[in-house]
Symmetry: D2
Subunit: 309 residues, 4 copies
């Protein structure tokens, strides 16, 4: 495959700039609403270690739902497949990520997969630690390990804003607590979850993370197995079947790589054996995916023949 | 109509005693689980002021969902029909009282009626007052007014037990808070709600309350209009179409009087222009209604031709 | 109670004429679409035998869903309560009359009540006879018995039009056939059902039918028990809890008498021990109820204090 | 990658034989119920033209839901992407393949994807032709083209058996006809659909078909583009996200290749750029997938590192 070059990436990022007009910055988390819809950035991390970027590649955004993949990896590494999938299912769904009704209809009541909010909350509930800080640090430490950057932290203002306003997630938590899927304090779980969603990265750091998932879980420089291959593959599979909210099927057809989206406007994509990609642009389509992110990945996937299907 | 006599009532209560074996004491509220399934009691309050009773008529139970009717009356009196029904619907439903999925499916998201938990919580959210104590006292004061007994209070232990364990009600609350149906603190609302459910009465006091609903809202002795007739009728109508959980339709066929059930094992029934009835027996059927309560009301309704249909 | 007089009825019918503008003639059955929205008619049949009317009281309309009550009475008389309620439930529902999803969600799969389409089709499936003509005649003969008028027949054009277009009812039928709730040919059942819906009456005839339900099932002139009292009461109960589509709860509050509505624009109402009422006006509200019908019954119920609640 | 050899395939097929005990032959289509649960067969078609097999590789089975992929390819080729996806969605779902409730809940009412029955029926409705024979031949001709074998036909007895008994599919059809998703005669559509499901192949023929999907839609011998690459990829994508009923997510994790299952006990799998695989064994798991088929593909995928994730 032809290598992704910085020049090519810059050309495309410039070309898709205009699509931001087709979307809308997320407004349900007050602190996200203030994001400038015109910012955009992209980065590709090659498995040979080269990293190219375009746009505002140093801009820090909160990773939001991308953190669901990271928490899942941590839970799998700490507790194993059986424990994780006794609490959360494996099937994709056409329901929106915030939906609660399946929890009531299905017997036993178990979130359908770890990429919808209910499932992600159940996964975060598996973090260990006496305090919410300890629990959060299980995820943050993992992020530090993958990126090699210990300065990465969460955005206190965004976390607080989401903590104050995310009543639906609390509703999901209490429903699951009633049914024994989660245990302990809902407020504490919610605290960890909003902080994990508010972890701040730039596209370069996130492209590196994606690169590790594309590299069978191994560190790109040292080759060290940071995530067991089987668990990296499980994460990739969930990104492939349900990583793009209820547009996952359409994205699989049009792009065809495992990817995870966050409502800040970020998308992380995995090109197995080739590299990791991260795009940022806060204007979202109706399903909650970055408009320019989806567009850029469509162009790149077609050009480089990335589709796994 | 032949008058309900104490002798007749005692005979029936004795006769139905054995049906308690067909039911099970509620176990989802820990403090209720300890209730003796063999206790039973019944009382009929005639509109001429005579009150007859049978069984352990001085036994105090918590009124649980019967409080939904009382809170509805208070909300109607304080805020009027338009305000109340902008937050809660009027239609009966075959869904169980704790169900959440209709809140998600229906647009706008509004509880179907004030007799299911979601609707009752939305009604309690309309109580006024700076503190939860003030809010609770709107309901307690109304109970004191109807019964003429200011000693009536709530059972602290049952309230606390339900407060600690009712995660599903919190889930309903947060879902409604997200959708703007309820406002303010969920924990405070939940506190008021569990206390209102834990209000303690005996069958004699409750039969008197039912009698006032049967008397067009007027005090039985003084004739004073304690509840405007139109609001008393609205309450009766909800009891008639959805007062007996998802057995309301079957109860309407077999008994045919407005009635409201509570999971402590109580049923309050309204016989318009005749009197009010209250039955207690903690063994419940699958829908959550007192087994001996339903049985006794079937016998009495058939004997005295009470059915409104 | 003051008697309903023709003069009073005429005054009200004239007064509500203008409300027809708030509704829309049903258009999902092509042959109904042609109905003149300005026609209206009302009749009250007193239990002393006097019948008063207003508007175009000789105009023949198809009774549509009102036939659900008549078929239910026939099924109860031929097969008894146990057989009927093994196939159809007793609970009211807030779902629309044409809904299918509860049939899939509920286990066992059984229509919620006989007033929604699924339930009504299951009831019509209980009609006996070798041919569809025989089955239809079970219902027609019953109509002749109640009205004393053997000329009553069905409107072939409306029946054919509905037969040709009612795909949703076929969908319900096949779903129930798969689940063993109905047996035999779906097309034949659908044929009987569309003909039963197309039975033609005028308000005078229908008011008489309603009068019999108000008279404990007894013929108004002879006192003969045409419908066992218990079965007449079951029919009244379903009319009271779910006769007005998913506006039944609101109608119970505002009017408070057992009533059944049809999408041709007819409403039949039962005032126990007083008389039967029938109103016709083809402009419908969103729930499928005659706008002027609901309005007239609200006025009359308030004036004569008809509410059973 | 090491090549799949006949010896290795035979060893595995022998090894997994015993797993058939964990499943049950489909019984909802009477003619399928008679299948011998002990039969099994597998075939792998390499893109170099070599075909290896094991077990009863000449045994003819009906392809059932595998035909959904073939009909989708035909519809895409005849009508294009826009026309097809105006009638059917692209999202995976955790609902069972026969489910109807989403058709009612979603607005607009459109089957979620072409792999569930509702979606597949909508696709078959796009076959052209004056008669049902013409419509069926669009699919059969396509099968002849892919396999190079014009003797392939459908099993009349299985088709008739399914035609007689598949009331649920008729229910889905009528529901979609009411909503304008399908047009024309439901019985004719149902006739074509049951015949398409009853197309008979053996594992060798089906492995060749899978091979073409693995070969970018090109004939393996001649390189002729039998299916445009983009459409072959769309089909692969649906197999990858929703080809294994509501076990698709779990299969994606454990096997990770695009695959389509049929209730006769067949699974067709696509290994891009490597070859096509077909397995048969009529004992099914709860989701309707061949027990030994899933087991064999798990073993092969792990051994040959087939997972695309």
């Amino acid at each position: 495959m032809e290598k992704v070059t910085e020049k090519q990436l810059e050309k495309w990022v410039d070309h898709i700039r205009i699509y931001a007009n087709n979307g809308k910055v997320a407004d349900y988390i007050p602190a996200l609403k203030r994001q400038n819809p015109e910012i955009n950035a992209a980065s590709f991390f090659h498995l040979d270690g080269e990293c190219v970027q375009a746009g505002e590649a140093d801009y820090f955004f909160t990773i939001q739902s991308v953190s669901k993949v990271l928490a899942l990896a941590v839970a799998l590494m700490n507790h194993g497949e059986d424990a994780v999938f006794s609490r959360v299912g494996k099937e994709p769904t056409s329901d929106p990520f915030y939906s609660i009704s399946k929890l009531e209809v299905e017997k036993p009541s178990k979130p359908i997969n770890p990429m919808i909010n209910a499932g992600a909350l159940a996964v975060t509930n598996m973090m260990s630690g006496k305090t919410t800080d300890d629990m959060l640090h299980e995820i943050l430490d993992f992020v530090h390990l993958l990126t090699g950057d210990e300065t990465i932290d969460y955005d206190k203002e965004v976390a607080q804003s989401e903590y104050n306003s995310a009543f639906l997630n609390r509703s999901l938590c209490y429903f699951m607590k009633q049914n024994g899927i989660i245990t302990g304090s809902v407020e504490e779980l919610h605290d960890v979850y909003t902080k994990q969603c508010a972890i701040q990265m730039n596209v370069k750091q996130l492209a590196k993370v994606a690169g590790i998932f594309a590299n069978e879980g191994k560190d790109i420089e040292t080759g060290e197995q940071l995530i067991p291959h089987h668990y990296a593959r499980i994460c990739n599979t969930f990104m492939g079947t349900c990583g793009m909210y209820n547009q996952s099927g359409s994205f699989a057809i049009n792009v065809g790589i495992p990817a995870k989206s966050g409502v800040s406007g970020v998308i992380m994509g995995v090109v197995n054996d080739v590299g990791g990609v991260a795009v940022f642009g806060p204007a979202l389509d109706k399903q909650g995916n970055s408009v320019i992110g989806v567009k850029l990945l469509e162009i790149m996937s077609r050009y480089y023949q990335w589709s796994i299907f």
